[in-house]
């Protein structure tokens, strides 16, 4: 029998994050959206309550929690502010390469400090000329005997300006294509690193997004994560672990858009009655509600499959969850703005922000089109 019942601890986790979002995120979400400043204090609090870096295994002093737990956290964060949620969630992406492929020594040395203080890590895969075609990356790591010399540029790197550690995907030999890719853990303070400007984005404005340039950056050999040639696998395995959580953040945002719409439609009167009395609005709300439920079910299933060790099924389920939830949230947020009418198009009401924020979920961590490629490849294979 299939059960979608959360354990008492997961239920408590959900309520705890919801309370944190209510107290710490919602009151400042509009402010950070407007100013595009980095929400240091809000992130610090998230670290304090232990919802960052939850995948660090217990033997290294972490909680050793799984993808489903992260799904639960990210739905709640997404319901508060996707920009702040992304800033909090991106550590998972930055640290998973080390957790999945690093040695015990590397985990202790590189990830250990993240449990001691609220540090941030960035995942550096995308380049100006390598987006969906990530394997075409050109950032190079030249073997200098005891260290690598890193040269190249990365693009759209979340938290770049505030991270202490970068997981950088680069190649030892461009001619080898995917087989030459490796992953290096790079200290953000290394000489030769130049940060681009903080991008002025449509949405998710509280998250810090920048280009990074590496110019003859020395990276010690002991910071090679996995083997040379294994880098692309490191990136894909990492994304497999985080995709369901990103999908869940979109579910949270859609849920918030739905809740705002329900409340507003009961208050707003036209033709002498609340607009919630009109079937046109009722059907929109009903469709939005079904979409949110469906998105959440896909995320829970993807998270559960991965946690139970069914990697292959879990990865396909994650692609379904990410594709559906991102597109769904965009539809739901657009409908929410429609229900609010002219008011919804202004910054005095919360739904236009959700619409701007969720757009990015269709783009980052594998566009909706790339998810379809993954799904199609899977269902068409012999």
């Amino acid at each position: 029998m299939i059960s979608f019942q959360l354990t008492p601890e997961q239920q408590a986790l959900k309520e705890m994050v919801a309370k944190y979002v209510q107290g710490e995120v919602l009151p400042v979400a509009a402010k950070y959206d407007e100013s595009s400043e980095f929400p240091h204090e809000v992130i610090h609090k998230a670290w304090e309550i232990g919802i960052m870096n939850i995948a660090v295994p217990q033997k290294f002093g972490g909680l050793g929690l799984g993808v489903l737990d992260d799904v639960i956290i990210n739905e709640e964060l997404g319901a508060g502010c996707l920009g702040i949620g992304t800033s909090i969630a991106v550590n998972t992406l930055g640290l998973y390469p080390i957790l999945l492929f690093g040695t015990d020594e590397q985990i202790q040395r590189l990830v250990g400090p993240f449990l001691e203080k609220p540090l941030l890590a960035s995942f550096c895969l995308t380049e100006p000329g390598a987006g969906s075609d990530a394997a075409s990356l050109t950032t190079t790591a030249k073997d200098m005997g005891d260290h690598y010399l890193l040269n190249g540029s990365k693009m759209w790197i979340t938290n770049a300006g505030h991270a202490s550690l970068y997981s950088v995907f680069c190649t030892t030999d461009k001619a080898l294509k995917g087989k030459g890719i490796c992953c290096l853990a790079v200290d953000a303070k290394s000489p030769g690193i130049t940060l681009g400007r903080h991008e002025n984005k449509l949405g998710q404005r509280a998250s810090d997004t920048r280009a990074i340039t590496f110019e003859n950056v020395k990276v010690p050999k002991e910071n090679l994560i996995g083997k040379v040639g294994e880098g692309f696998k490191v990136a894909l395995k990492t994304l497999d672990r985080t995709r369901a959580s990103i999908a869940a953040s979109a579910v949270g945002a859609a849920r918030a858009a739905l809740q705002h719409s329900i409340r507003y439609s009961k208050e707003r009167k036209q033709f002498n009655q609340p607009i919630s009395q009109f079937q046109a609005i009722q059907f929109m709300l009903a469709d939005m509600a079904t979409k949110v439920e469906a998105g959440r079910a896909l995320c829970y299933r993807a998270g559960s499959l991965i946690d139970e060790g069914f990697d292959e099924d879990g990865n396909l389920a994650s692609a379904h969850a990410k594709r559906f939830s991102a597109d769904m949230a965009m539809e739901v947020a657009t409908d929410a703005v429609q229900i609010f009418g002219g008011y919804g198009y202004t910054k005095d009401y919360p739904v236009e922000k959700i619409m701007r924020d969720v757009k990015l979920v269709q783009i980052y961590e594998g566009t909706s089109q790339i998810q379809r490629v993954v799904i199609a490849r899977n269902i068409l294979k012999d």
């Binding site: 408590a12 986790l13 909680l63």
Partner: protein, 258 residues
């Protein structure tokens, strides 16, 4: 220092309350979500802060009620309490029985300091903490916004909130302190806290274990009524001078305030 916190589980503040058919009570079954009484969250926080300041001691959360209250105790553990005690009792007990039970369970463990919220947000009686202090024969201070335990841990100084000012009280220990919301910002339960709380055992007592049983409620809820629904607002129309005339007329004749 052995510190106790009295915790009550109450309906979530956003719950829509419905009175039962006979008007004798609230439809408890319809309450979808229960929370820790917000004033008690401040009490938990103050207990934890006191322990942290003293750098020693244990904090025990204690609650009386049906099985659902265990959830409130798990929240208290997830916030950082060391132990929890659940006294099993049914929904129908009144303040008297609840306080007798809490006092009897406290007595077994002789706490030096007991914290409680100044009232619960469901019935707003603000009575239980006073009864408990009385049955334990210890001093109690209410509406407290600041607590300083003396270095010798034999007394404390409590600042109370009174209309337009403050009132400072000194008391010997053991004592019971009922806190107001201004005292602190309660911490969130933490994820490591939730994981640890899962492994902790919650000690359970029945009323009989505590030598109670013959005690019956001294008071009985006889009727509940919701406030009358608010009347719809009226927005006056027309030219401003005419509107003002109409407003004055309505204030005089309908509202009878001028």
């Amino acid at each position: 220092m052995n510190i106790f916190v009295l915790v009550k589980q109450v309906p979530d503040t956003e719950t829509k309350i419905r009175v039962n058919a006979s008007s004798s009570g609230i439809e408890a079954k319809e309450i979808a979500k229960w929370i820790v009484n917000p004033y008690d969250e401040h009490a938990i926080e103050e207990a934890l802060k006191t322990k942290e300041k003293l750098k020693e001691g244990t904090v025990t959360a204690i609650a009386v009620g049906p099985d659902r209250v265990v959830e409130a105790l798990r929240t208290a553990l997830a916030m950082g309490c060391d132990n929890a005690i659940h006294i099993k009792a049914d929904e129908s007990i009144d303040t008297y029985v609840a306080a007798k039970a809490l006092a009897a369970a406290c007595k077994k463990e002789s706490p030096q300091l007991i914290f409680a919220g100044k009232q619960a947000i469901d019935d707003d009686q603000a009575a239980t903490f006073g009864y408990v202090a009385e049955y334990l024969d210890i001093p109690s201070v209410s509406v407290v916004v600041k607590v300083d335990v003396a270095t010798d841990k034999k007394s404390l100084r409590a600042v109370r909130e009174v209309e337009g000012g403050t009132h400072t009280v000194e008391t010997s220990l053991p004592a019971l302190i009922a806190v107001n919301q201004g005292i602190n910002n309660p911490r969130y339960a933490s994820l490591p806290g939730i994981m640890k709380a899962k492994k902790k055992e919650i000690k359970a007592h029945t009323l009989a274990d505590l030598g109670l049983g013959s005690e019956t409620a001294l008071t009985k809820d006889s009727a509940f009524a919701l406030p009358p629904p608010r009347k719809a607002c009226v927005i006056l129309q027309g030219e401003v001078p005419a509107q003002v005339k109409e407003l004055v007329k309505r204030l005089r004749e309908e509202a009878k305030v001028i």
